[in-house]
Symmetry: D2
Subunit: 348 residues, 4 copies
Amino acid sequence: MFFASDNTSGVHPRILDALVRANDGYPPSYGDDAIMARVRDRLRETFEAPEAAVYLVATGTAANSLILGTLAQPYETIFCTPMSHINEDEANAPEFYTGGAKLTLTGTEDAKMSAATLRKAIEAEGTRGVHGPKRGPVSLTNVTERGTVYDLDELGRIGTVAKEFGLPLHLDGARFGNAVEALGCTAAEMSWKAGVDAVSFGGTKSGCMGVEAVVFFDPARAEEFEFRRKRGGHLFSKHRYLSAQMAAYLEDDLWRSLAAQANAACQRLAQALKQMPDVRFSHDTPANIIFASWPRGLHEKLKAAGAHYHLYSGSETGPEDEMQEARLVTSWSTSEEDVDRFLEVMRH
Amino acid sequence: MFFASDNTSGVHPRILDALVRANDGYPPSYGDDAIMARVRDRLRETFEAPEAAVYLVATGTAANSLILGTLAQPYETIFCTPMSHINEDEANAPEFYTGGAKLTLTGTEDAKMSAATLRKAIEAEGTRGVHGPKRGPVSLTNVTERGTVYDLDELGRIGTVAKEFGLPLHLDGARFGNAVEALGCTAAEMSWKAGVDAVSFGGTKSGCMGVEAVVFFDPARAEEFEFRRKRGGHLFSKHRYLSAQMAAYLEDDLWRSLAAQANAACQRLAQALKQMPDVRFSHDTPANIIFASWPRGLHEKLKAAGAHYHLYSGSETGPEDEMQEARLVTSWSTSEEDVDRFLEVMRH
Amino acid sequence: MFFASDNTSGVHPRILDALVRANDGYPPSYGDDAIMARVRDRLRETFEAPEAAVYLVATGTAANSLILGTLAQPYETIFCTPMSHINEDEANAPEFYTGGAKLTLTGTEDAKMSAATLRKAIEAEGTRGVHGPKRGPVSLTNVTERGTVYDLDELGRIGTVAKEFGLPLHLDGARFGNAVEALGCTAAEMSWKAGVDAVSFGGTKSGCMGVEAVVFFDPARAEEFEFRRKRGGHLFSKHRYLSAQMAAYLEDDLWRSLAAQANAACQRLAQALKQMPDVRFSHDTPANIIFASWPRGLHEKLKAAGAHYHLYSGSETGPEDEMQEARLVTSWSTSEEDVDRFLEVMRH
Amino acid sequence: MFFASDNTSGVHPRILDALVRANDGYPPSYGDDAIMARVRDRLRETFEAPEAAVYLVATGTAANSLILGTLAQPYETIFCTPMSHINEDEANAPEFYTGGAKLTLTGTEDAKMSAATLRKAIEAEGTRGVHGPKRGPVSLTNVTERGTVYDLDELGRIGTVAKEFGLPLHLDGARFGNAVEALGCTAAEMSWKAGVDAVSFGGTKSGCMGVEAVVFFDPARAEEFEFRRKRGGHLFSKHRYLSAQMAAYLEDDLWRSLAAQANAACQRLAQALKQMPDVRFSHDTPANIIFASWPRGLHEKLKAAGAHYHLYSGSETGPEDEMQEARLVTSWSTSEEDVDRFLEVMRH
């Protein structure tokens, strides 16, 4: 019963197989391998963006920070939510890769900024001339860090505000597939068609070993990105092993199937939990993450039965009936059996 | 006939196998996996350093830059050779990770600094008070970027100079195994026993997919390193796949066997080349890299026959008998057949 | 009627005179002048800190950023208020000088953090291991950017929290004298006796031409600060002209007298404004800054009469009786006549 | 007998007077003062560059580093000489302000790069794709740090090479006036007409208290520079005191007269020294700096007589007749009496 994170799951057999097959021969290093040429084509098709500049790195923090380093000047500020991964979970990596840009935190509802809270934050940062930071990129995450999903209207309105102020828009797509599946839309619709300028397209959390694609819809960013990636130590010599993962992940839209599996497991879990009188949901759960609370006693029973997940609130000890908030994350490899066993424990 | 770089070779079967085996289950992320615990023990044994702080990253540039970022202040200068990888081939990554430290280039012979050229460089950088940079770490590479090897006496004398000035000593060990095998010494002798404070212990060039160990002999550096690694985007969520590579690489000293194979292939090649009247060696070749020159006509014949390697000098076109310098690198997977075929082409 | 900022006022005659007197001869550069030796002694006396490391720079942004760069690691976060100068008015200078540290904004009341809001912010930043930033310095401003003043109890409680978590405490003292005069305390009481580790002691806003002292109560910070100051371009070659300003500013506690004059002018203004039915104060005004609102019509009358000050809220145009918030700042050179003329205009 | 540095000299009476006169009233802060408007016009006239973006800062390190930070990307390298101030005497300020760019040192003759040594350095840095740094700005100093002067032909040829490779050209003009006077040319001829893109126009070493002008001939750089200046802590609130210095310095070409005086004192000194059999010149001395050697015994006599200057070589103690190299710098305030007294001591 493993719901701690989608990054504790393994590598999907088709991706592992691709790695083994990539082990033959002596292809050129540093991204000049033939598999990468195919990945480039396939990513451009996936995003319906024939001119896009496309790169691979191995971690999500690298993908996001390198994009922000390319989009932002050091004297600018990046607009994001307080719970965004770039603010909370990257140990100042965005500040590092931008050379010291600031993060301005927007108001949120359900862990999402809105066109209105974004506009308010932007307007507040443009009143002090050279004394304040200059307005820089807008960055959002879909699926959000609380499991909610921006729909295409919400994204489009945010994209419109960013464009109005001439600010680039970055999408942290660590769970890009899960959001696309939740919305039933295309990769293009959830990115450039909504005004996104650059996206990190996550593979690691969804069946890959460690690979994220970086997509700039404006190829003018390409050269700068390449130098910044190398300078960050994120250009792999044996690049074919990143290429092979991504190639298999894209083939026959495996990335969508895996995301759909993860989402389905989450829905099975969520629907059952919603029937339970003791369970209170913090947010809607359209993708593969649940934030919900139930009494401490139940948590203890689950842990004892071998369930793995994180607690987000509450002290170490306390009364049995005290409500504590849990985060449950499903992945491509979450089985119905595990979900049902978890529910079983909760019911008894 | 692939002699372009050891990083065009594949993953050794035992290491690939370890990756496949690591694919089971839901171990904790970010280095808390059980395999990493074993890797820690095994690395400390290998280096006879029970207190060492030990980490894994995926690229050599990350390993070197993160070490230098931890050892150097931004207002300091790092002493290294002009041809060092950190100076020539990391696109300012050391400057980035140190927050803007400088690199002071020492005099060299055979691509090596000596205790004397190091002392001269150090002394020249200590005369301007706060106007110049402060003296910072010394950094050297063994095997050097030209294929030569510092012996233990040379290392020890450099370590003594560094200690005399109170400067930390970093060893870029991208080809650590090849140097140890060339010297017939232990990992400890080539590192802390010679005064080295931190080493990057390379796996990628020698049969791994993408993993380098970082070893600090003083564990006081540990916490800072961990924050810097995360902030650089170099902490892997699915860390078990780095751990698995390194575990297999260390088991039964596979890292030494693979280095020995690469060195042997190089010696076979070098000894035959030395018999050829048209071939001039630029340096001694004790490890797995040869720098040597022969006439353009021969180069053309080799390329036509399918030999892969880099040219280091000479214009695109010119007379047939013009000497051009080649770099040949052997790896764990270089076969005697490939070596012999290469020599065959040269002879006829 | 000049109430726009204390930095629009001129240089006090005694300080200007000191500059003229310093113009003789060929003293050593870069802080080795004899006047600076006296300044060092006098600053240490003023702060009752015989071991303090003491430096001069020319701007407040330089003083604060260099202190924070010395106290904070790039992977740390600095705790400050949302309206602090380092957050709002230094165009990412703290991020620049720390190499990319983050600013964590505390809750505030009357533009002041409290021991409780500080503790809450610190606790929230210590839960994510290497994924979040590490906890770094606490930074506060006295007089605050809204004109309120931390009293010694408030400071002491904040100092206690900082110490409990092992975090250094920085005091932005751009208006240090105004706060000391408002509290009727000593420089030592408002700094190290309350737990402050480093302070910027402002001269520019209070009768100097452009000089701020940096005081580290722990002299171990000295060498690092000196390199960082030079590297920031803030070490003056003709340093004697900084020394001369500070020497005159300290002599016979001129800094206290000038602050007292500015505060007195502010009290005269505030007391009269408080009698006016249309005026609403945003905060208490114990030092030399007033934030207060009155109807747009009155603002227009004042501007027409030649009053200079900043508006902090309200649209360009609107109804005559709409309330708009003004910031009024008095300085050492504000005359009673100017204050009275301003009040006169308001009354009629 | 003060020949240690031009920065030990005082402020010229006309400039000091301008500072006193600027002390009236309450002008706007941060460069919006009326004097600065005049300075802008006058600098544009001086440089015959009506569109130039023009700024003031207080130190030469600030001027150079801010220009380089604006011209260079962090993944680029700056081409300069080994003895350039930005390499030797700014404690990594260029690396800091560029966010970690590298400095590539060119070959030199008489402390000057040539079009040929520059081209060689540029070509060597363009062979490694994203592995090396990208080629960035060219930076030179006129008068050089050894007292030699690039003539207009030399500058023009360097400018042509920079343009050929599309690299911006920076001129460190700490002693701009001395070079212009040595060449008998105009400010425009020594800057944009020779291909220079940005210049720091020094005042501090030549009669000002602490002010340098930054001139970008392409005004598109303006906004970025303004944010970078503020973020570096180099935007002065009481900016009028920088403006006043520069206004007086430019009025009636005072900057040229003061430079001419310094150069004349140097020529008087040099011509007499050249007659002395024991004196060997290291370089030509067309401006206000002499590097020359004479026996230790003579140095001791001079020091005993109260002469101030720096020794550039030689051990602390040694034989009386050992040659030691001195640096002598004259300034606007060097008197003929002082020169003659110095020569007198040497002769007897």
